[in-house]
Symmetry: C2
Subunit: 196 residues, 2 copies
């Protein structure tokens, strides 16, 4: 998606909406976080967004995800600006300083093509969101793609929804983007914007 | 909002989001509808979007709203492409043919600066939405800014939400954009995209 091309966002999946919002906020040299590395596509996207002066921190508890992502970024020649951690995103605060991060992306659920019983969980997801909020610079955002279809997904979606509905409105504005008329409960996109 | 400028949409009110979505869809020569003319700002916006070859149809049950809007458009030199009707938006289907309209904008509630007891009502709003759906061309959209704060607003919001949640998913996709962490129940934006 180039900035000046017609966006056709209404035809896109919500994961593409998340990227679109990220693209609007990120500038060269920014620090961004992929809180759920998975197959590394968002990590790669963020690495492209931040440019050669920027940095991307990626977290995953599955070594196989990190290995795949390392390969993907290496092939793209962008590995030097990416730091991958074999750790839960709930610990991301220990690797980063307050008010330094422009974007934190979450794509919840299981690793596509991996073990579907290994899913993100409400407790650690909320811990990770709590850790991510103070990291954001002014005009920074957190994007969360939250699923409702797989076993355990609805509990996590509800927990995220309740948590984000109660965060400080004097600093953050939380947008929720939902597709209504679908039988199969599509994902929901949350965008947290630190506006002050 | 120019197409190629950085959009900063996250800092904008949802009425501006509605305009942004409209801007993505409309081309010169299109036919658009302002279903709730009010002070005429959306009518003017649509008249600018459709260009000299396009047409805008506007509906309002308050003559004072239509008079103001006529003046606004006349001053902007755009009145020749605008057709204003002193009628309920629930009758908009009688003025327009199927599959010809690119955009229908609804901004529900009362006329700002007018009589706050004169509000859009669930029954007529749903009738108007029902009338608007078959008018949309492929890739056309309906935007609805629905309020929850004034007396009677929540009933209307709930009715719109239920109605739009049940429309044909094989033809239309309904997005709901909501701001979560606010005490004062901000408006909600619905965007109906006819994708087929």
């Amino acid at each position: 998606m180039k900035d000046n091309e017609r966006i056709e966002i209404l035809s896109q999946r919500l994961v593409t909406w998340a990227k679109w919002f990220v693209k609007q906020q990120v500038a060269c040299g920014d620090i961004c976080v992929d809180a759920t590395v998975g197959n590394g596509f968002d990590t790669l996207f963020l690495a492209e967004c931040v440019g050669p002066e920027g940095k991307v921190y990626g977290f995953d508890i599955q070594q196989s995800a990190l290995d795949k992502t390392k390969k993907l970024l290496s092939e793209a020649g962008l590995l030097d600006r990416v730091y991958l951690f074999h750790d839960s995103h709930s610990n991301l605060g220990t690797y980063l300083s307050h008010s330094t991060v422009k974007v934190v992306m979450f794509n919840l659920g299981y690793l596509p093509g991996g073990d579907h019983s290994l899913i993100t969980k409400p407790e650690t997801t909320i811990q990770a969101l709590k850790a991510a909020l103070p990291l954001l610079t002014t005009d920074g955002i957190i994007t969360v793609v939250s699923y409702r279809g797989h076993r355990g997904a609805m509990e996590e979606y509800n927990a995220v929804n309740v948590f984000l509905s109660e965060i400080n409105s004097k600093k953050y504005r939380v947008f929720c983007i939902d597709i209504l008329n679908q039988d199969n409960l599509p994902p929901v996109l949350f965008v947290v914007h630190r506006y002050r």
